[in-house]
């Protein structure tokens, strides 16, 4: 039997500890960096409620910070939010050795390039999580539904790095597949996220049906989606024509839903507006493409960040 693979989770919140649980269940040796809750996690591990059954697990090692860093991991999973003030390269650097595969399980558009540029010799896997999971205490996670992970190499496919990772997750109990074009998959996800998430924040936490049912609401969301589709196309990722109708229909078919960015906003936590909206606007501007509604939302969100002068 081959030696168990080793993995480190950086940003072991709800998402990170969930995928860590699956790798653990598949027999990997999984460690975490847990800056704020290291002692609790060390003592208690991660307790889960999950439709997958008992996937509670104990990390092999719990690191507090980079002063304890070792760089011999087969895989390092970066599962933090993508925030302008968070230097992801700096977070990764101490833990990435010459043979380490880097896997990003993160939201947003255009989030791979800085990491690929900083670690050009390491295989880079860009992953999109479709999951409903919440950490309710430092070592307690509630996994409500789903878990599907789309995995794709960036900028090339890195098949040898992707396959064992996908296999372990599948062995752990979820759907995981390897996408030929993970950036196209990110655009597809952004057709929903880029309109709904920031609009909900600007509307002080409105849920999906509030947004669609307000006078002019659905037309506004559709117009935002059309702007995202146009930017994706300019980037060489032509999305299926029916994508907007399908997104609206599936949203209307679900119960009213308040998205995670809105929940972060209402709880005073940092939001990934730059990764999900700002980067889309920046790409549109590179292509000299008009995205007035996306730009309006981005400007309003940046105005909110500006310090008051009165």
């Amino acid at each position: 039997m081959a030696q168990a693979k080793t993995a480190l989770i950086i940003g072991a919140g709800a998402i990170g500890s969930f995928y860590g649980a699956l790798l653990y269940k598949a027999g990997w040796q999984v460690s975490v960096v847990a800056r704020s809750h290291a002692s609790i996690v060390q003592q208690e591990g991660y307790k889960f409620e999950s439709p997958l059954g008992d996937i509670s697990w104990q990390p092999h090692k719990v690191y507090r910070d980079a002063s304890e860093a070792v760089n011999t991991f087969d895989y390092v999973l970066l599962c933090t939010k993508v925030l302008p003030q968070l230097d992801r390269v700096k977070l990764l650097a101490p833990w990435v050795g010459p043979n380490t595969v880097i896997a990003l399980i993160q939201n947003g558009i255009d989030i791979e390039a800085p990491i690929a540029n900083a670690f050009p010799n390491n295989p880079l896997l860009s992953c999109i999580a479709f999951i409903a999971v919440t950490r309710v205490a430092p070592s307690k996670v509630v996994h409500k539904a789903f878990g599907h992970l789309k995995i794709g190499g960036y900028p090339i496919n890195y098949q040898q790095a992707a396959e064992p990772f996908a296999e372990a997750l599948i062995a752990g109990g979820i759907k995981a597949d390897i996408a030929d074009d993970i950036v196209a998959e990110r655009w597809l996800k952004c057709v929903w996220n880029t309109p709904f998430n920031p609009a909900s924040v600007l509307a002080n936490g409105a849920d999906t049906l509030q947004m669609l049912d307000a006078p002019g609401g659905e037309a506004f969301i559709r117009a935002l989606m059309a702007e995202v589709v146009a930017v994706a196309k300019a980037e060489g990722h032509a999305l299926p024509e029916a994508v907007i109708d399908k997104n609206i229909e599936s949203t209307r078919a679900m119960p009213a839903y308040r998205n995670s960015m809105a929940i972060d906003y209402l709880n005073g936590r940092d939001t990934e507006t730059a990764a999900i909206l700002g980067n889309v606007v920046a790409i549109a501007q590179r292509h000299r493409l008009a995205t007035p509604r996306l730009e309006a939302m981005w400007a309003l969100l940046q105005i909110r960040q500006e310090p008051a002068q009165v």
Copy 2:
């Protein structure tokens, strides 16, 4: 000496009681409708702090509601906010007789037609107030600066109604002038208000310099202003070419300023977004004119009003 003219103020808040004070000072017999604070106003009148000196005054009569209505006033001044849920025709009707001049001292675009249609035989004066005034208690008003009133007949000039009104206000101590095209004057004011007021609400009360200094902020405000100018032009009111530059420059020359709509919003009071933004969007749609940024703000504000479903 001609008999003193009679006037009634409906909506005798800061603005209404201020212009009432000037008419009173000019010798008019001025009454008010004061639904919530009738007893206090009856006893104390309106006390003012003002650079114009002591303009405190006692209304001739203080009416509580329409059950006491008489319709023999020479002038009825409607000084309420313009809100979709407030039926202005119904507010006016009991007090308007066959010879009554109606004067609207109100904000917004396209606010005259419903009144002109309901009272086709009464002269209608549409007035724009340039003033900084705040009611600090039911019968106590602080007038900080300005007071200039632009007065214009709608849909025709109604010179005979406008002139005595302007003369009385000038006698009362402020600048008042008669505009040939009051609707054009409203558009000119909306070049500032329609972008800045709703943007500040959506940015949770941002002041002018926060808005202009945020990344992309000034470009956003300028683009909003350009949309307003385009709608005004489609309505036949071509505004001076330099109007956007002038508005930005004068705003930057002032100290940081939080506008009254933002203050209303932060204090949980109704805001005039429909009159100042919604009506502009509606006019643009009649002209099939694209105003994507104004529409985005209007949609977001309407989403905020939609009841939550979670």
